[in-house]
């Protein structure tokens, strides 16, 4: 991955900055330029919006055969997470036994290393999720 490609998305990946449609109030992550509810009315009216980082597991899987960038890191869990703001995203679940992950589990975002460009390349960080504090 090019460094610029990674750098452009630092706000989203480090701080979960999505967008809010200022017409209908719907919150999106990843950010969107147009709100699918309001379409042309929303053009130019999408504002940055920082997600709280908490959500619920809607579905999950354990990746046993990883892509080359994640070689040596499997097995790891990938989940579809419904954020408390209503939008969904895809992320890893960490800091727990893989067997304990379940649909309905409350999770919170944490800042982690995601992947790297080989031994000498850039290290890419971003969000993963862990079990939310009670």
């Amino acid at each position: 991955m090019g460094v610029a490609r990674y750098w452009r998305e630092i706000p989203q990946r480090y701080n979960l900055i999505g967008t809010k449609c200022s017409v209908c109030g719907t919150i999106y992550f990843p950010p969107r330029a147009i709100c699918p509810n309001c379409r042309r009315k929303s053009a130019g009216k999408m504002e940055d919006y920082k997600l709280k980082g908490t959500g619920t597991v809607e579905s999950f899987t354990i990746i046993r055969v990883p892509p080359p960038e994640f070689e040596g890191k499997s097995p790891y869990a990938i989940a579809l997470i419904k954020m408390d703001e209503g939008c969904h995203l895809t992320g890893q679940i960490v800091d727990c036994n893989l067997e304990d992950i379940h649909i309905g589990m409350k999770v919170e975002a944490c800042f982690r290393r995601i992947q790297e460009d080989g031994k000498r390349g850039a290290i890419y960080y971003g969000y993963k999720f862990r079990k939310a504090k009670e």
């Binding site: 998305e9 990746i63 046993r64 892509p67 960038e69 579809l80 895809t90 995601i114």
Partner: protein, 388 residues
């Protein structure tokens, strides 16, 4: 709009075809279809070729002129367009070819699809296939392609009680069908136990829940029905061709237990054709993973939502069931050279409707359907064919 018929079909064997290049695969499928149609090369007006990623698989883009050159048609300078929609590329080529003939723009059109996937190592193939998902918001975080379908499987199992055995029964059925298809990559029968004992790729999907990495190409020749009568008595007409798109990412969709784009394409195709799910005699559906076929037969209305698993286990979709699904062996057993798949599905339906499917012939097949999906459901193409 004019009625469009399929006057010729052809495909290569699917599999790990190390001795054959991308170019040779394109040539073989194209020539077979032209021979089958009984047309001369100079009658061809245009070509549409589906391919997902020849650029990453073999370092070759610009597939249009490659196809023109292998067909020896460069002197005629016919237009050839490569179309891409991940694993639905072949279906899109058919859809585009259909539009071009139906509109009156062209008469004889070649639609094809090709992919040469085994020139790269397994890890690279995984990475290339991940480009059908959302690279920045899915693959970046470690989601693989089987992983996305596994998310749908976990969701479906939780919501409807679908079991691993029911998932496995899709693979068992499709391998049984594929065992009678000389073009299939895997011609061996398997059992539910074989599937469940194979290694997990992305829970709950085992290796034998997944379609393979394959090489292969397929082609078909389209013509207006009036012109088609000149070439063949066994006329198969495209009753409807519909395509629909959705979000690129799975997480962006309105639901995870279905592919809304497939539901939408099916609805449009049924409306255009003036038929419903009960009128379909057989279907080739996009079983890139076993869960995908279960969701497909629900999206197409063959069974009620949530009943895909039990229905498969009960044999409703088996070769001699109420609605035979993937008589060719499907992507699972026939193989899945991604760009070729949509056209290979058409090959099977045309064979069946002509009554030329041999051992796996569905009796009195009159109306057949193809369901071709790109990515985790970002693109879907549904075509309905009938004997006339």
């Amino acid at each position: 709009m004019r009625d469009v018929a399929i006057i010729g079909i052809g495909m290569t064997e699917f599999g790990e075809l190390w001795e054959k290049s991308f170019r040779e695969l394109v040539a073989e499928a194209g020539v077979r279809a032209i021979m089958d149609a009984g047309i001369e090369g100079e009658e061809i007006d245009a070509m549409y070729i589906g391919g997902m990623s020849s650029g990453m698989f073999v370092g070759q883009e610009h597939v249009g002129p490659l196809a023109v050159e292998v067909a020896g048609l460069e002197d005629l300078h016919i237009p050839a367009t490569r179309v891409e929609g991940a694993c639905a590329s072949g279906g899109i080529a058919l859809h585009q070819g259909y539009i071009s003939v139906a509109s009156g723009m062209y008469d004889i059109v070649v639609v094809g699809g090709a992919e040469k996937m085994t020139d790269v190592a397994g890890g690279s193939a995984t990475n290339i296939l991940a480009s059908a998902s959302d690279r920045e918001w899915e693959a970046f975080f470690g989601a693989t392609f089987p992983g996305l379908y596994a998310l749908m499987a976990t969701y479906h199992m939780h919501k409807y009680g679908t079991t691993p055995e029911q998932l496995a029964s899709v693979a068992v059925k499709n391998h049984y069908n594929g065992s009678t298809n000389p073009k299939a990559q895997f011609k061996r029968k398997i059992t539910v136990e074989d599937v469940l004992k194979s290694p997990l790729v992305a829970d709950p999907l085992h290796l034998l829940d997944c379609s393979p990495v394959s090489d292969g190409a397929a082609a078909a020749i389209l013509a207006p029905v009036e012109v088609a009568k000149k070439y063949t008595d066994k006329l198969v007409r495209i009753k409807a061709s519909a395509m629909a798109c959705d979000t690129l990412s799975l997480h962006g969709r309105e639901r995870f237990d279905a592919l809304p784009a497939a539901i939408h394409a099916a609805k449009k195709a049924y409306e255009k054709a003036g038929v419903g799910p009960k009128d379909i005699d057989l279907a080739e559906v996009h079983d890139c993973f076993t869960i995908a076929e279960i969701i497909a037969i629900e999206d197409l209305g063959f069974v009620e939502r949530g009943r895909g698993g039990p229905a498969t286990e009960e044999g409703i979709t088996s070769l001699h069931g109420e609605i035979p699904v993937n008589t060719s062996g499907g992507l699972k057993s026939k193989g899945h050279p991604v760009g070729a798949t949509g056209i290979a599905q058409l090959n099977e339906i045309v064979l069946q409707l002509r009554g030329e499917a041999g051992e796996r012939q569905v009796k009195d097949a009159q109306i057949g359907l193809t369901h071709n999906v790109g990515g985790s459901g970002g693109t879907a193409v549904v075509n309905i064919m009938e004997v006339i």
